[in-house]
């Protein structure tokens, strides 16, 4: 089962490699990973999407929590949560008709064109991973995809809860 795991850790050199190393060393999947400092820049928040049965996820959680740099870990998929991923995608726009069709699709997906050249558009889309997958699929039927880059999922639990309590 797909899980989104959120980790609060010291923003220190080596901390990230310890987490990544742990995943490869113990044979856990990493589907995506997204990390950046938070408002207190001595801390970073990392979101990993992974897959595994309950037993594997329990081990992942415990093993990550055991790392000295890790303050807190929570499985967002345990409860209600918001998840988003951002994608930048460059598509070829060879003709006016393609350009129009691309523009329509971008609007439907509430994306934004952020860069234009005579030959292509660069588009920004945000949403769940499924939405981004759907966007890619739709786009590929109209235009040539030149390249794309996705941030990986980041997420927060819904409601009053916070990881830093």
């Amino acid at each position: 089962m797909r899980r989104i795991i959120s980790v609060l850790m010291e923003n220190e050199p080596g901390a990230l490699s310890r987490i990544i190393g742990l995943f490869s060393q113990r044979g856990y999947n990493v589907d995506s990973l997204c990390v950046a400092p938070i408002e207190d820049s001595s801390l970073s928040r990392l979101t990993i999407t992974t897959a595994g049965d309950d037993k594997v996820i329990e081990q992942i959680t415990k093993q990550v929590n055991k790392l000295i740099d890790v303050l807190k870990i929570s499985d967002l998929t345990d409860g209600q949560h918001v998840e988003r991923e951002l994608m930048l995608i460059k598509v070829g726009t060879r003709s006016d008709s393609v350009r129009d069709e691309v523009k329509r699709t971008v609007d439907i997906f509430r994306g934004q064109v952020v860069d234009i050249t005579p030959r292509n558009y660069t588009i920004e889309v945000t949403g769940t991973s499924d939405k981004l997958d759907a966007f890619i699929h739709t786009m590929s039927q109209t235009a040539e995809i030149v390249e794309l880059s996705r941030t990986g999922v980041c997420g927060l639990s819904r409601g009053e809860k916070s990881m830093r309590q």
Binding site: S17, G21, K62, K66, I68, L71
Partner: protein, 572 residues
């Protein structure tokens, strides 16, 4: 504030932590630190002959005392040579700090001479690591390293020190932290009261309970509490390979070691138990055998300081996170008065059952007039040391014979590489023990294969006058490998034969020690007596033992815990 160089800070911080011994080997990146070691007497440096041995010495020192062992090595090959020793300590949760030199900060990443990414190389086998970037951070990093190494579930910690920050030409203010506090590291020591009550209820109601005690009980010095609990509740107790001595091996309630080479009674008791209280043990695959057939009737209570150990391989019905010591103390606080007669009554059938398994005498073996049996050597060793020696061991058949035939009565006496199974561990580990306890009798039980993996340390023994007794069970083979080849590969002894062995007696003598060769059963007792009469000497006992002896009992692969071979021809 005192001003000093980074190198002086390293030595001073070691002193402030309370370090007495450092096991190490010099080289370019640590010459400044070695210079700082030169003119002082607070910290004794022990010069080894190979850095792997330095790590095993620090490890043996830690196992025998509970204090963190310390290693100091240079960058590159010095650092990588310690990796096997670090992995050994990591697998057995032994507190150790490894100070490694590093190339100057400006050269990191340039493939400079003797540069290796030590933090990277050691990452999967350490509890934590530091790459120190500024001299003023040295005291803090060292204080944290020792704190992390020896709190919670202990383990090795690497402190990597670039050469420029320990420069003896520069001065920096030195301040050692009064207290180490880390917001991201707060191990749980006390157990959850609700869980403890549940655990106690299950344990007291059980008709066929057993205590399964591992190295975690030794790590937190909980042996006396384990014994108290076992005696109060009349529980049978089995120790793991790492837990030998946590509960006295000569106690009438002790049913011996469990697992792959466990006793019949220990494995039977586990398999038939209705309640297992695991104390600081981790349901290792060398214990459980096939997890799907593991102890089908038991409610499992698992007490461990490391939450990740709980329900990792075997699901725990009642998990309790905490140190064995705290949790047992909490047990006693919650326990009502126990009626001894009723308690005995409750477990009478169970003990009767256990007694019947014991009658099989699974450790009996056939003696011989011509050949010395390895079991017999360990029994003799036990007699000649009154069962009170520190015994380190290497890895192989001799290790299992020592574990089975030397019933350790006290914790921290049995020093072996359980988790990693590192050949070459025994001699340096024994040396570490001897440094910690200069007057104690320290033996290293080894084999002709293992001893050659760190035999160069006989030289270190000479330099420091360490009277370790090396008991080498020489079967002219990699015995344990040979046993598996006999059992599984139809006796095809592929590369398990130790050809061209040296004359170990002459070898020992050339290092300045005493060597004794024993070839006949009738010589054994006298030779042992001679060995232990030479109190101040290292004695190398080269004992020719029966090459064809196997270690039994032995679990049968894919079976339940109690599916075992009892001899070459018998099985359960």
């Amino acid at each position: 504030m005192e001003m000093m160089s980074g190198a002086a800070m390293v030595v001073r911080a070691l002193k402030d932590v309370g370090v007495k011994h450092v096991f190490g080997y010099p080289g370019g990146a640590v010459l400044d630190i070695y210079d700082a070691l030169y003119a002082q007497e607070d910290v004794q440096h022990v010069l080894v002959r190979h850095e792997q041995a330095a790590a095993h010495m620090a490890d043996g020192y830690a196992r025998a005392t509970g204090q963190t062992g310390t290693v100091l090595v240079t960058s590159g090959p010095g650092a990588t040579n310690t990796l096997t020793g670090i992995a050994t300590a990591y697998m057995d949760s032994i507190p150790m700090v490894i100070l490694s030199g590093q190339v100057p900060s400006v050269h990191i990443g340039e493939d400079a001479f003797q540069e290796t990414d030590m933090v990277g190389c050691s990452r999967p086998i350490v509890k934590h690591s530091f790459l120190v970037k500024r001299a003023i951070d040295i005291p803090d990093a060292i204080a944290k390293a020792y704190y992390i190494a020896n709190t919670g579930r202990p383990g090795p910690v690497v402190v990597d020190l670039p050469k420029d920050i320990v420069n003896i030409q520069e001065s920096h203010p030195y301040q050692f932290p009064d207290k180490v506090q880390m917001r991201s590291y707060n191990p749980t020591i006390k157990g959850h009261m609700g869980q403890i009550k549940k655990a106690l209820k299950a344990l007291l109601e059980a008709k066929r309970p057993v205590l399964y005690v591992g190295g975690g009980a030794i790590a937190c010095d909980a042996s006396s509490l384990v014994t108290e609990l076992a005696e109060k509740l009349h529980l049978p107790v089995t120790n793991t390979l790492m837990g030998l001595g946590a509960f006295p091996g000569d106690h009438e309630q002790c049913i011996g070691m469990l697992g792959m080479h466990g006793t019949l009674e220990a494995n039977k008791t586990m398999h038939n138990a209705d309640c297992i209280l695991a104390l600081g043990a981790r349901f290792d695959d060398r214990v459980t055998n096939n997890v799907d057939k593991f102890c089908p009737h038991a409610t499992i209570i698992h007490v461990d300081i490391d939450p990740a150990s709980i329900s990792k391989t075997i699901n725990a019905h009642i998990p309790v996170v905490g140190s064995v010591k705290s949790v047992l103390t909490q047990f006693f606080e919650q326990m009502h008065e126990i009626n001894d007669t009723e308690r005995k009554e409750q477990l009478a059938d169970w003990w009767e059952q256990i007694a019947s398994w014991r009658t099989r005498k699974c450790l009996s073996y056939a003696g011989s007039n011509e050949l010395i049996k390895p079991q017999q050597v360990i029994e003799s060793l036990y007699r000649h040391t009154q069962g009170d020696a520190y015994v380190s061991s290497d890895v192989g058949q001799h290790q299992m014979f020592a574990a089975l035939y030397y019933p350790f009565a006290k914790p921290r006496r049995w020093i072996n590489s359980g988790g990693l199974g590192t050949m070459g561990f025994g001699l340096p580990a024994a040396m570490g023990v001897q440094f910690a306890h200069p007057d104690a009798v320290v033996c290293c039980v080894t084999g002709d294969g293992s001893i050659q993996m760190n035999i160069q340390e006989l030289s270190t023994c000479m330099q420091y006058g360490l009277p370790v007794k090396v008991i080498s069970l020489n079967n002219r083979a990699l015995g344990m490998v040979r046993q598996w080849q006999d059992m599984i590969y139809k006796g095809r002894h592929s590369h398990s034969y130790m050809d061209s062995l040296p004359d170990f007696v002459k070898l020992a003598e050339s290092y300045g020690h005493v060597g004794i060769k024993v070839e006949k059963p009738e010589e054994l007792e006298d030779a042992m007596a001679r060995c232990f009469a030479l109190k101040d000497k290292l004695v190398f006992m080269d004992i020719a033992v029966d090459q064809n002896e196997h270690v039994y009992p032995m679990q049968i692969k894919y079976g339940a815990m109690d599916d075992m071979r009892l001899s070459k021809t018998e099985r359960t």
